[in-house]
Amino acid sequence: MKAVEVRELVKDYGNFRAINGISFEVKEGEIFGLIGPNGAGKTTALRVVATLLQITSGSVTVFGYELPKEAGEVRKIISYLPEEAGAYKNLTGKEYLNFIAKFFGEGEKFQSMVQRGLEIANLGERINDKVDTYSKGMTRLLLVGRALMVNPRLAILDEPTSGLDVVNAQEVRRIINSSVEAGAAVLLSSHNMLEVELLCHRIALINDGKIVASGTAAELKKEYDAGNIEEAFVKAIK
């Protein structure tokens, strides 16, 4: 079964067209990356799949559930990490993980989710401090832990390593890879072309609301006779 199937998706904000008929698929156990410049439509596409925005036209299904009709079912199997996400500042890191885990399970399932979140966030004793006292990087680690602890069938990650230093970014990439090995599908967006090349099984280059090219990193580099994805992207949008 396809994890995500997007067909001719159009999203308008009033009379402004943010996404102009894009189509792509994400397979089970695959990391699929949307890459493009600011304002290309990456976040809008991710928000549509994450059930946050309505569809103007086209269709989106997640593990066979159709949006927006079955949005409730989709929310049970996805986890979304927005680029500029925050956590409730008056809660401690652990309380925040508890709060989220309660929506996904009870008893042992709940406990194991929180334990996994603690491990992913890896904040040591600081997990018992209020989120208000965390640095940007610590908050991001907590949020990555929150997003992946629930073992989602589809993780939607908008700039997952945004705000993290090199060491933590590498750790997050490792965690994302291990989630996929455990059976999850990942749809992510990034400005960081190197990261995408390292992490994603397949990539779609998006510009001005349209997908201009898609394939594996090797296929795209070959198609555009480029040394890296960044160069391929620049050639693709010319």
């Binding site: 904000y13 009033g14 600011n38 946050l52 929310r75 929506f103």
Partner: protein
């Protein structure tokens, strides 16, 4: 150069959020001023009274001439029942009955009794103004009788000359007959119902309203809203959770406020008369109804707040959005504090009924006077209002509005930095 800085400062400071509170306060003051203006007219107007003179003696003649000169007398006869009927029908303030032997008693060194039957129509702070004016008439009658007694040099008791009459008062108030009290005495006894409930409910609505609107602003400012909306929980549960959570915070805050305010109000308690002696008391079911009315109004107010909160872009803009709620709560509170629901013009009555917070403010007084339809109707109205507002909020939560705001405007205001991320 300086002009450029002034222009920038003006643009920074003169925003909707700074302007709105001033406009709201001005409107509320204007509204209260309008009411006070009417009170001024009431004081200047001659009170409408009836007189039943059963004495026909020297002093009752003096009393009659004073009353006819200083009041608008709509009944001048000798039948008290007929006089009372006339006063009720003509919206009069009181019927003054001068009983037989009034003059004889005074000549015999006993104060003459004047029976006053007051018609009280409202228990607001300003509702007893016209009866207060009528009370002034009795002072004038006393003065004229005193003058006459001094001129006659009848070597009467000086205490009698200074106070030649006494009053026996009965007040008819919305079907209740209260003996021994004038409207102003009754009104001062009901001050806690007139002031405490409106103020406490107003503070409760504002405090809980701030909590729920701020919560929406904080969700956006702290970037937690998107995560919340992708969790496997119904949007209606998110809305109800926010409303009930904020209601609890509001109730706690109001309880703390109320304790202090009740101590403050005790200093205004001018009599130790027990309201229960006059049938003006609440039973268990009445207290239950007041509680339900308060809770229903709180939910109605907070569901309206959550709809307003969806317009908040951040915590700061959320603070400005509370002002419509503050204005409505202040209008209800001040109106009910000063006037009774039954004594305000029909348009204001409709407005007051339409504001769901008005109902618990009026509930205690209404239940004391057995006005159950008003209280139960208010609860039903607040419940319907809540359901409609929650439905509207859920609809907004299910749309793009929460994340994108008013799209058409955003596109149009792109140059002002209102653009959206795509």
């Amino acid at each position: 150069m300086i002009g450029n800085i002034i222009k920038k400062e003006f643009k920074e400071l003169f925003t909707l959020s700074t302007l709105l509170p001033i406009v709201v306060v001005a409107l509320v003051f204007g509204f209260v001023g309008q009411m006070v203006g009417n009170v001024g007219e009431t004081i200047e107007e001659k009170p409408v009274i009836g007189i039943a003179d059963m004495d026909g003696g020297d002093f009752s003649d003096i009393a009659m001439s004073v009353l006819i000169e200083k009041a608008e007398v709509i009944y001048d006869g000798s039948d008290a029942e007929e006089g009372l009927k006339e006063v009720r029908e003509e919206n009069g303030v009181a019927l003054l009955v001068i009983p037989e032997n009034f003059s004889q008693n005074i000549y015999a060194n006993h104060p003459g009794e004047i029976e006053i039957y007051w018609i009280m129509r409202g228990a607001g702070m300003l509702d007893s103004v016209s009866s207060g004016v009528a009370e002034g008439l009795i002072q004038s009658v006393n003065q004229e009788i005193s003058k006459e007694l001094i001129q006659q040099d009848n070597s009467l008791d000086p205490a009698l000359v200074l106070a030649p009459t006494t009053r026996i008062e009965t007040t008819f108030f919305k079907g209740k007959k209260v003996e021994g009290l004038s409207p102003s005495q009754l009104s001062s006894m009901l001050i806690s119902q007139s002031v405490v409930m409106p103020v406490v409910v107003m503070m409760l609505i504002i405090m809980a309203g701030v909590a729920v609107i701020s919560s929406m602003g904080l969700e956006k400012e702290n970037k937690t809203l998107e995560t919340l909306l992708t969790l496997p929980v119904r949007r209606s549960h998110i809305v109800i959770g926010k409303v009930v959570g904020s209601a609890l915070v509001g109730v706690l805050m109001a309880a703390i406020y109320m304790i202090g305010f009740l101590y403050y109000m005790r200093s205004f308690q001018i009599s130790d008369i027990n309201l229960a002696d006059f049938g003006l008391t609440l039973g268990m079911q009445d207290y239950l109804l007041v509680g339900i009315s308060l809770f229903a109004a709180l939910l109605a107010g907070l569901s309206l707040c959550i709809v307003l909160g969806t317009f908040a872009k951040n915590y700061r803009s959320a603070q400005a959005l509370i002002f419509p709620i503050t204005a409505l709560a202040m209008i209800s509170s001040f109106t009910i504090m000063f006037k009774d629901f039954d004594t305000i013009p029909a348009v204001l009555r409709v407005l007051l009924f339409a504001i769901p917070f008005s109902h618990p403010m009026m509930a205690v007084r209404a239940l004391m006077l057995d006005n159950y339809p008003l209280v139960i109707g208010g609860i039903a109205y607040a419940a319907v209002f809540t359901v409609i507002m929650i439905a509207v909020a859920v609809r907004i939560f299910n749309s793009d509005r929460l994340l994108t705001g008013s799209v058409q405007k955003r596109v149009g205001l792109g140059k002002l930095g209102w653009g959206f991320r795509r």
